[in-house]
Amino acid sequence: MTRAELVDELARRRAIHREVAESIVDELFRAMLETLQEGGRVEIRGFGSFKVREYGGYTGRNPKTGQEIAVAPKRLPVFKISRTLHEQLNQDI
């Protein structure tokens, strides 16, 4: 499912205009991105949660040339699936 398909299905399910569904989906992911950007958490019951993890810099190596390269510190979002969704995903195996 793509973002566009999500918008279409939301418009159909709620019987709202596609443009309205689109601005809702835009606002939702914008809010999630901004929260993570500010270092906050996102917690969606029944789906999962996001937090930001900080990674320190280190000196890596180009595996082909062996040349040393400095890898800068970075922040990455980490997703954790909710327990209920994990159980739903695994109920038939």
Binding site: L6, M32, E43, L76, L85, L89
Partner: protein, 98 residues
């Protein structure tokens, strides 16, 4: 829960403020969005949200593991996991601001 945690209730407020739907309808719509996303993943579909990231369901084979506390050897059953890969837009957004 700390004040800087974004929840469905807060998302509904944002939709109410920015799109101008009633609070009740905004809350229902937020539930519907995540329900549609969950439905896609449960039907073995990838979920690809441009500008945010992709979720994909992966099958993990059973393997022999170890309880790190007791050191007992155990079998970790076959299972499905959900992996999330952030989009370049999200990665840049998290690292641009100091």
């Amino acid at each position: 829960m700390s004040a800087d945690t974004l929840t469905k209730a807060r998302l509904a407020e944002r939709v109410h403020d920015s799109v101008g739907l009633s609070k009740k309808e905004s809350a229902e719509i937020i539930d519907d969005v995540f329900d549609l996303m969950r439905g896609a993943l449960l039907h073995d579909e990838k979920l690809k949200i441009t500008g945010f990231g992709n979720w994909i369901v992966r099958d993990k084979a059973a393997r022999r593991g170890r309880n790190p506390q007791t050191n007992d050897s155990i079998i970790i059953a076959r299972r499905r996991v959900l992996s999330f890969k952030p989009s370049p837009v999200l990665r840049v957004a998290l690292n641009a601001k100091e």
